[in-house]
Subunit: 251 residues, 2 copies
Amino acid sequence: MSASVAASVPSMQCFIILGLPIIKEGDDIASLVKSLFDFQDGDVLCLASTIVAKSEGRFRELEGYHPTDRAVEIARNVGKDPRFVQAVLDESTEVLLDQPFLLVVTRFGHVGVNAGIDQSNVGDARILLLPEDPGRSAKRLRTELGKDCAVIITDTCGRPFRAGVAGVAIGWAGIAALRDWRGVQDLHGKALEITLEAIVDEIAAAANLLMGEAGDGTPAVVFRGLKYPSGGGDSVFMAKDKDVIRPRLKR
Amino acid sequence: MSASVAASVPSMQCFIILGLPIIKEGDDIASLVKSLFDFQDGDVLCLASTIVAKSEGRFRELEGYHPTDRAVEIARNVGKDPRFVQAVLDESTEVLLDQPFLLVVTRFGHVGVNAGIDQSNVGDARILLLPEDPGRSAKRLRTELGKDCAVIITDTCGRPFRAGVAGVAIGWAGIAALRDWRGVQDLHGKALEITLEAIVDEIAAAANLLMGEAGDGTPAVVFRGLKYPSGGGDSVFMAKDKDVIRPRLKR
């Protein structure tokens, strides 16, 4: 038995941070997670976007929105409150689909349904926007952690062609979004065809698996022992001019 | 320090299985991984589709394909060998995009570029098809493992709107594709909006993170300590009639 186990490598370790309070505006998430977990250099901290948004005061009252005619029309298509639709439009730079659901490009470049605006976990008539700039939030949180850690802010998204939702990264710091396999050769000495791996999304997916969506959710997860390239300004959001699906949605 | 660590839960454990030989047709993958790792009930074994396909003899010689006029035309659009395109068409039920790359629905329902056919890691003039029915392969491997484990067969795919590729599940057994959060209430007692989580894709993404794409790749990864619903005939492939993107690609 021990010989068998020796042939496998215990790889990445996963920790769920327990004991976080319900986050309110102004809460210092970095201090809270540091009080609950001993971070080491190289750790990857994943935080659900909801708690980052809450700490940044991204709550809005629906009654504060005054829908335009366009918002009213889209609201009819998608079966939503026109004020909610206006909130989505305000957070977006482009509408990709206005039925049967509202798929937009957010101001920070992420494509998501309803601009990721959440109506659960915030009480009636209130909504929770995504962080204004999740990349900036991740950078700040990384600095506040005070260790050479990576920080990934996660959300869940539906995906074309696939059922259900999965965790994705909407902001990251201290880690490259993409791992570059270019120049790496395969077993037969040919260059690999697939060259860029969206590691921040893969880590966010793993984190979402452990977070749970429910009321007893645990919105902070740490991965240890993962080798990853340090950050450098790349993005997991596909550049508009490289996207072959987006233009086909416009009709 | 110990108080801090006590507030976190060491969660899911990850193991990379080392020492697998290069897989050839007829190799017994279940026996090989069992000889290298002590499986426990509840473990999730992720296997790269390439090794499953190789063991199932899914190599093909390009010269065995005789391209139709349509294959020749698509080959011009996508800059590929017409015989390769013919192989893709043979493995597909529907073409979603025929330029700038060839996006198809495979015979088993997965949407992927080039039907997931691999030209790396197999030598010149040979290609490697995906397993004929990855779900069936996963079921067989699960039986051969002889434990109450889940088996997920993974591939890597590009994604609309997002850069790079990420691991996805193309076959699974002993685990539900989707975790159903319906009926679960949030912190304020409202029903959660997002109800189906594509856990097999999230696990596949985590596995791909650990496997590596390269010539020294480790195509078998085990997760332990993950709670997951047992299998029951659901799918991570979106049903055609629920897909709002697919019909918009047809022009």
